[in-house]
Symmetry: C2
Subunit: 325 residues, 2 copies
Amino acid sequence: MSLAISYQDIERAAQRLRGVAEVTPLLHSRELDQICSGQIFVKADNLQHVGAFKFRGAYNRIAQLSDAQKQAGVVACSSGNHAQGVAATAQMLGIQATIVMPKDAPAIKVERTRSYGADVQFYDRYSENREQIAHELCERLNATFVPPFDHADVIAGQGTVGLEICEQMDGEADVLLSPLGGGGLCSGSAMAAKHHWPSLTVYGVEPEGYNDTQLSLESGERQSVSQTGSSICDSLMTPAPGELTFPINQEYVNDVLTVSDEEVEAAVYFAWKHLKLVIEPGGAAALAALLARKIDVANKRCVVIASGGNVDPHWFAEMLQRQSA
Amino acid sequence: MSLAISYQDIERAAQRLRGVAEVTPLLHSRELDQICSGQIFVKADNLQHVGAFKFRGAYNRIAQLSDAQKQAGVVACSSGNHAQGVAATAQMLGIQATIVMPKDAPAIKVERTRSYGADVQFYDRYSENREQIAHELCERLNATFVPPFDHADVIAGQGTVGLEICEQMDGEADVLLSPLGGGGLCSGSAMAAKHHWPSLTVYGVEPEGYNDTQLSLESGERQSVSQTGSSICDSLMTPAPGELTFPINQEYVNDVLTVSDEEVEAAVYFAWKHLKLVIEPGGAAALAALLARKIDVANKRCVVIASGGNVDPHWFAEMLQRQSA
C-alpha cells in the first residue's frame, strides 16, 4: 500500500516553513546523560510558535490552499494545540479561522485561541456531534476543514521536526523517541529521520489506556481503545490511529512504549528542574519513557522530542508542590 | 585606566569552553515581538550547565590553573549559581571543590551543590566572616579561591554569552539588555558585543534597592547600597560593583535600568507561559525591564539575556497561582 506522503513532501514542507516556523533547539543536558548513561538530546518543539509542533502541520496545510480557498477561511475542531496552530497560521496569512470547541472547554484554551484572532464556535459535547458541526460550518462558509493529524500536508509539516533533528545533530542518533497521539508527529518524524539514518530505532510513546497504536501495531490493523480511561496527557488522548498516519507508523516505527500518569508527571518536573523547560504532560511522554527506563539507552545517542508546553498553571503549581514535597 | 580584560580574552575563553559549555539557543517569540513592537531575541543561558551562565566563568577560571593548583582544589563562597558553576567545573576536571555556605542556606541549594561532588563548609552568617573562612580554607588546603565575578578569567568566561549572541544573530542588534549583579556577565557581554556591533546600545538591569552600579555610573565612582532592602532577585543582590567589572561597565554599558519585584515576577510568569522557559527572578530582570517598557524598542532588534533558571519550586508554584488568579 502506498503511503500518504514521501520524504520529499517533508522536504517541501520544510521549505514552506523556512523563516515562518522557529527552528527549535536540540538541547543537551549532562543530568540526562548521567541518569541514562547515554548521550541524550531534547528536541524542544515546545519552543515552537503557539508552544507546540502543531503549528508546523497547520501552516503546511493552510499555506497550500488556493487564494479562493484562503479567502473563504478554515475550520478546525480542537480545544488544544491544534486549535492554536490553525488560529496562529490563519492570523499570519490574514485569513479567517473558525474553531469548534466544546462549550465546557477551559476558559484559558478559549482565550488563547481567540488571542490569535480566531472565531470560536461552541457545541454541547453531550448532545451534539462536533464533526457534523464542523462539516456544516465548512458548507455554509465554503471553508476548508483542517484535520488535526490525518492529512498528508499535516503529516509532512509535523515531519519537519524529524528533519530538523537530522540537520542539527552532529553525526547519527541511535534512538528517537516521540510522543504519539494521532500519529502525525511520530509518523512524519520517523519517516524523515530514517531517510537520513536508516539504522535508527524509533519508539512512539503513548499514555497507558490510550495505547491504540501499540495495539494496532501488534494486531496489524487499526484498533480503537475504549474512551473511558483518563490521562493527564490530554494532547495524546486519541482513541484510534489515523487512517493515513497508521501505515506510516507501521513502516517506520520500531515499537511503542506506554507511560503512566505518575511517570509523565515526574518527567514534567524533571524538565522544569533540570532542563529549565516548561513541557506539558503529553509533550513529556517520550521523556517520561526515557526517565522511567522503558528502554536501555546506555552508551547510545538518543533524541527525545518534547512536543508542547501548553499547560494549566494551577495544575503545574500543584505538580511542583507534590513533586518537591 | 586599563581594563581587566580585552576582547581577545573573551575569544580565548570561548575556545576553552568549546565542547564543554552548551551553546545556548537564541530564541525568538512572536508574542514578545508583538508586545514590544520590535524584534526580540532571548539568549537562553538558563539552559546552560547548572542552569546559569555562572558555569562559563567558573570553568574559564579553573581550567587555567596549573596541575599543582588543580590538585590542591578550589574554594568558593556562594549558596547560589556560582557555587554550582564551580562545583560542576571541578567535577568535570576531576578536582576537589569546597564551597563556603551559610548554615541556614536553603536545603535545596546545599543538595544541588553536593550533587556535583563538592564539599560544603558551613558558617554562621551572624558571627562569622565568610571571606575569612574561605581565606583560611585556601591557606590550609593550599587551594585556589574562585571569585564570583571580580576576576579577569571569570569576566572573560561570562563574556562568551555576548560573543555567542553576535555569532548567532543574523545581522546586528540595536539593543542588548543584561541582568546586572556583580557585573561579570554584563561587562563581559557588553565588551564582546560592542566589539562586533559598535553602535549597539547596552543596558544593565538591576533590582530596585540593589542599583549600586546605576548609582556608581552616575557618580563616576563605585558606590555601595545599604544591604537592608530585600529583593526576589537573590542572584543580583550585590551591594557594590566589582573593582574590575565596574570600569568595563563604565566603558561599555550605556545605561542601567531598575526593576521592581512585581515587574520581575510578571516576567518570570511571562517566560513560563509564552516562552516555555523556567527563568529565576534574577535571570528575568532584563526581560522584566523590556516587558515593563523601561525603554522603547519599537522597530528595533533587541536581545535580552535570560541568565539563570534555578528557582525554589514552592516559590514558583505560588507565583503561578498568584499570576494566573
